[in-house]
């Protein structure tokens, strides 16, 4: 499997993971990232996913996954069980993000967090010009039915890491196309032009 077989944001995360490491993914969906990492980087993989049908898809791929709530399941692991804890496009749906990142830093040496950027210019324009809560491709729900209860911008996350005493080792601001399979890095004014942010974080 090639790196380009993965969705663009996942391919960036995959490129950051050291071969042979121990990886926990919170909200691993159908297990595409873990499957790739297991095959190509021989990682020892663990996933947590709440939806039964997605759990089935993961196990069919031969990866180890637990059906359950990420906030609860992460607590059972002893300290430093993993090299990486990944939370890909899920943080914005977590009720207590600070607690979850704290747990990620407890069970793993490093964390990877990615989320849709609420500072993107289209989000800003919608609110500014129409006066209504933004609905975008990356955050496609209405205010009343959205699972994305913790929308944040890239700058918000940087400020958060400073306050929480978490160090950012790597970061990628990206712009993806419709189905998210392809994309490119954003270097100019990322908080305005990136649709997603990806961060590799760790303890100070």
């Amino acid at each position: 499997m090639k790196l380009s077989d993965l969705r663009y944001d996942l391919s960036i995360i995959a490129s950051w993971i050291e071969p042979g490491s121990r990886v926990l993914e919170l909200g691993c969906g159908e297990g595409d990232l873990l499957h790739w990492l297991k095959k190509e980087k021989a990682v020892k993989e663990r996933g947590i996913e709440i939806q039964e049908s997605k759990v089935e898809k993961c196990i069919e791929k031969g990866i180890s996954v637990l059906q359950g709530d990420i906030n609860e399941e992460i607590e059972d692991y002893p300290d430093n069980t993993f090299d990486y804890a990944i939370c890909s496009q899920t943080l914005q749906q977590v009720f207590e993000p600070r607690g979850l990142i704290h747990s990620m830093m407890r069970v793993a040496k490093k964390g990877v967090v990615s989320f849709p950027n609420f500072g993107h210019y289209r989000v800003r324009m919608q609110l500014a010009l129409t006066g209504r809560a933004p609905v975008t491709k990356e955050l496609p729900y209405s205010w009343h039915d959205t699972p994305n209860i913790r929308v944040l911008s890239l700058l918000d996350f940087k400020k958060f890491t400073e306050d929480a005493g978490v160090k950012i080792f790597k970061q990628a601001a990206i712009n993806t196309k419709g189905n998210q399979r392809q994309g490119r890095r954003v270097t100019v004014l990322p908080n305005l032009f990136a649709t997603y942010g990806i961060f590799l974080i760790g303890k100070e």
């Binding site: 039964e52 089935e56 196990i59 031969g62 359950g68 002893p78």
Partner: protein, 389 residues
């Protein structure tokens, strides 16, 4: 636990299979049981399907539940009305694919389907053991299965798989012989019975022992405690269903009548169903075996046995890769009991997958056709096989 449900699906089968037996612990040897008692010789009835590969790395041991037997799949005779009890799962291209794996299933000791149990003749007396048969545990059942594997020349099992009381044997295998088990699939099971589960078993046992024909367990030359055993089975069947499945299956529908009779016959469909299940059961099962196996299940306590009360400590012995599966409507061994196991496995950094399957059919769900379970099983086993290569 109600093997031989009426749910067989058409499809490919392993075809004809043979009921084999293996006898060990003959004089001068004896099998020493957990209670300290000794018995011998011990016979196990077993069945195999598929082909053992030259490296002997593709053996899967399937463990049956309370009332099951060694006939896991296929047919003894082309004219048989029904295949083995898990034919929907075990066969070519099925969840446990017999084109890939060598499947072994043996009848547990204490049972009555070809393996040594209370209905067997005690060679010392020339009469059936009856209740002189020593109390056996889940550990004793596994110890006997290990003797069978030694006999078959199989050192390491690719997987041990079983539901309910079969799942208890799976857990016991992982703790007792960790170096011989590569992976394990405990389905719809528990690491120890709740008071609720023990309570139902005790009522069932009391029903048998209250039958005047039971005669302290020595009934083999006279009338059998059929009524007691039938009631015990009826109680069991209630615990295998769920409120929802009973509502859907029976509701308050009447059997072969349109109005209440104001008599005590079986009027409601649910009554008729339970009576039918009871009646069917006495034709194939021994009442004493029911007493012994339910007792073994009640005694089973992985944490007490291997962890001085700590399930985390108990699992620290295990090495297997696990797939734990529970069912949403199983109130006999509810999901929280599976989650307790998973939690203890995680604390030991064991490789565990867990899935709670949404099913309305109660505890019995693990024996019913379910594509999700087929996929989970096939994917998990393939993953384990791939890791060997």
């Amino acid at each position: 636990m109600s093997e031989y449900t009426d749910s067989s699906r058409p499809g490919r089968t392993v075809g004809l299979v043979e009921k084999k037996t293996f006898t060990f612990a003959g004089p001068p040897d004896r099998l020493r049981l957990e209670s300290g008692a000794e018995i011998g010789p011990v016979t196990l009835a077993y069945e195999t399907c598929g082909t053992l590969n030259p490296d002997k790395t593709n053996a899967v041991l399937v463990l049956h539940a309370l009332s099951g037997d060694s006939h896991v799949a296929g047919y003894y005779d082309p004219k048989d009305a029904k295949p083995g009890w898990w034919d929907i799962m075990v066969g070519p291209g099925k969840g446990i694919d017999t084109d890939q794996y060598f499947v072994i299933c043996s009848n547990i000791i204490g049972s009555c389907c070809g393996s040594t149990g209370p209905a067997s003749v005690n060679p010392e007396t020339g009469k059936e053991y009856g209740t002189r048969f020593p109390v056996v545990t889940i550990g004793d059942m596994v110890e006997a299965q290990k003797a069978l594997l030694d006999h078959l020349g199989i050192d390491t099992l690719l997987s041990v798989i079983g539901g309910s009381v079969g799942g208890m044997q799976v857990l016991e295998w992982c703790a007792r012989f960790p170096e011989r088990v590569r992976s394990a699939v405990p389905l719809a099971t528990t690491s120890r019975h709740s008071a609720l589960a023990i309570a139902f078993n005790e009522v069932a046992r009391q029903a048998i022992m209250a039958d005047p024909n039971w005669n302290e367990g020595h009934y083999y030359s006279g009338k059998k405690p059929d009524m007691g055993l039938a009631i015990a089975r009826m109680i069991g069947h209630i615990t295998y269903l769920s409120d929802e499945s009973m509502r859907l299956k029976f509701g308050r529908k009447l059997q072969n009548r349109s109005a209440l009779s104001f008599e005590f016959g079986a009027e409601f469909q649910v009554e008729s169903y339970l009576q039918y299940q009871g009646k069917k059961f006495i034709e194939r099962f021994d009442a004493n075996s029911f007493l012994y196996i339910t007792k073994a299940a009640d005694y089973f306590d992985l944490a007490r046995q291997y962890g001085s009360g700590s399930l985390v400590k108990a699992f620290s012995r295990c090495r297997a890769k696990f797939l734990v599966v529970s069912y949403t409507s199983d109130w006999l061994y509810p999901t929280y009991q599976s989650r307790e196991m998973v939690k203890a496995m995680k604390k030991n950094d064991l490789d565990v997958s867990f899935c709670e399957i949404d099913a309305q059919w109660g505890h019995d769900a693990f024996l019913l056709p379910n594509e999700r379970l087929d996929h989970l099983m096939a994917g998990f086993l393939k993953g384990v096989s791939d890791e060997i290569e």
